[in-house]
């Protein structure tokens, strides 16, 4: 009996997912407050030690994700690579410094990324840009345009799935030539594609007069 056909998955949207339109309290909250909340979660994860605190912070962020009605499957898919990294880092910490540290470090990593996912899922990138421009206003005193800073952050988020795509294309090309075991056949073209994409994006931004 043949297996039931499985539809291909959509392209990975990056570790922080995409905006999901909605009308929850979190969607209506100001992006500045949400950025502050994200910073607070980061500070809590780093400064409050212990497994109970890590579990509590993670549960709190999980509750916020539920409050923002983040789609479970898409969110899990966004966070999955980080969860895997957290598991590896946590396992190493368990071995090196004991199980409490291992669990705490792994949970803290997942918590911070989940909090960032809640932020990006409930805030339009455009609205986030406005908030980042406001937050970055003091940078004007050191010669950095807030608009440029905000755009750089937005581009960084967009670049992550593009990088994954560049590696996937390079991997497919290497496979097609029977070179899938040669790391050079993956890394060199992926790096070249990434640089070419960065240059093309720079050109496109300049052509649109963005960041001037």
């Amino acid at each position: 009996m043949s297996a039931a056909p499985r539809p291909a998955r959509p392209a990975w949207a990056g570790p922080l997912g995409l905006h999901h339109p909605g009308d929850t309290v979190l969607h209506r909250a100001s992006p500045g407050a949400k950025l502050l909340g994200l910073a607070l979660v980061g500070v809590l994860a780093v400064t409050v030690p212990g497994v109970p605190a890590a579990i509590a912070t993670c549960a709190l962020v999980g509750a916020l994700a539920a409050l923002g009605r983040l789609p479970l499957r898409a969110t899990a898919r966004s966070v999955a690579p980080i969860a895997l990294t957290a598991a590896l880092v946590g396992a190493y910490q368990w071995w090196a410094r004991g199980w409490q540290v291992g669990i705490e470090v792994g949970l803290d990593l997942v918590t911070v990324v989940l909090a960032a996912t809640v932020l990006t899922s409930t805030t339009r990138a455009d609205v986030m840009l406005d908030a980042l421009v406001r937050v970055a206003r003091p940078l004007r005193h050191v010669g950095i345009a807030p608009e440029t800073f905000a755009l750089a952050v937005a581009l960084m988020l967009r670049t992550i799935p593009a990088l994954v795509e560049a590696f996937a294309e390079a991997r497919d090309a290497a496979r097609a030539r029977g070179l899938d075991r040669d790391p050079r056949a993956l890394l060199v073209p992926a790096a070249v594609r990434t640089v070419a994409r960065a240059r093309a994006t720079g050109d496109a931004l300049a052509a649109r007069g963005i960041g001037e």
Binding site: L18, H19, A125, D126, A154, R197, A200, D203, G209, E212
Partner: protein
Amino acid sequence: MIEFDAATVTAYAARDGGGAPDDVRTLLHPVTCRLVERRVAVIGANGSGKSTLARLVNGLTLPSAGAVRVDGLDTARDGRAVRQRVGFVFSDPDAQLVMPTAVEDVALSLRRLPLAAAEREARAREILGRFGLADRAETPVHALSGGQKQLLAIAGVLATEPAVLVCDEPTTRLDLRWRTIVDDLLDGLDQQVLHVTHDLDAAARADRVLVVDEGAVVHDGDPAEGVARYRALMAATAGCAARSAATG
């Protein structure tokens, strides 16, 4: 109006086998012309200098000598003002779409205008509707088809209503259906359009055709004659290449 005043582009080229990059190559020999027609096509072989010519108009490439002016604005001196007047569409929309969703990408273009966030979003949605992409407003850009991406890229550029649109092979990666859609869209625009293309049917519909060969404009004028000149050039080049291959 686009004016090329002996505009020349040169670039350093590294010597074969390394060494100091002190050889200067001419990418575009002096071009002098005034383009006032609504539809101007630029055709030529790959690497002939078409894109260099197109990039001069938006100030993405600055002339090494001479000048390029758009409505009297010098691309070297008034780059910002020129880019507000000249939109540019690339062949690869992936490089051009920088925001996560379609509506956000169009809204990014509108940030140049003094609009409140809500008005910006409303305007972006209205523009998407005009381009038949209203139902794709919330779609992640990476999930759009190639044709939809190119349409979105054009929508993003036209959002700020530039006076001139430069298109660098916008239909090269598209299938026939999307090529027709994009061609029809470009044909119907009020803007002056400088269209770099390999599509000779599109070139033949233009009001004026420039043929670029080895960095020089070798024909400037009637579209039918320009297309014939280009075909003759390509036939001669293909013949030379075939003879070289046959003789090893």
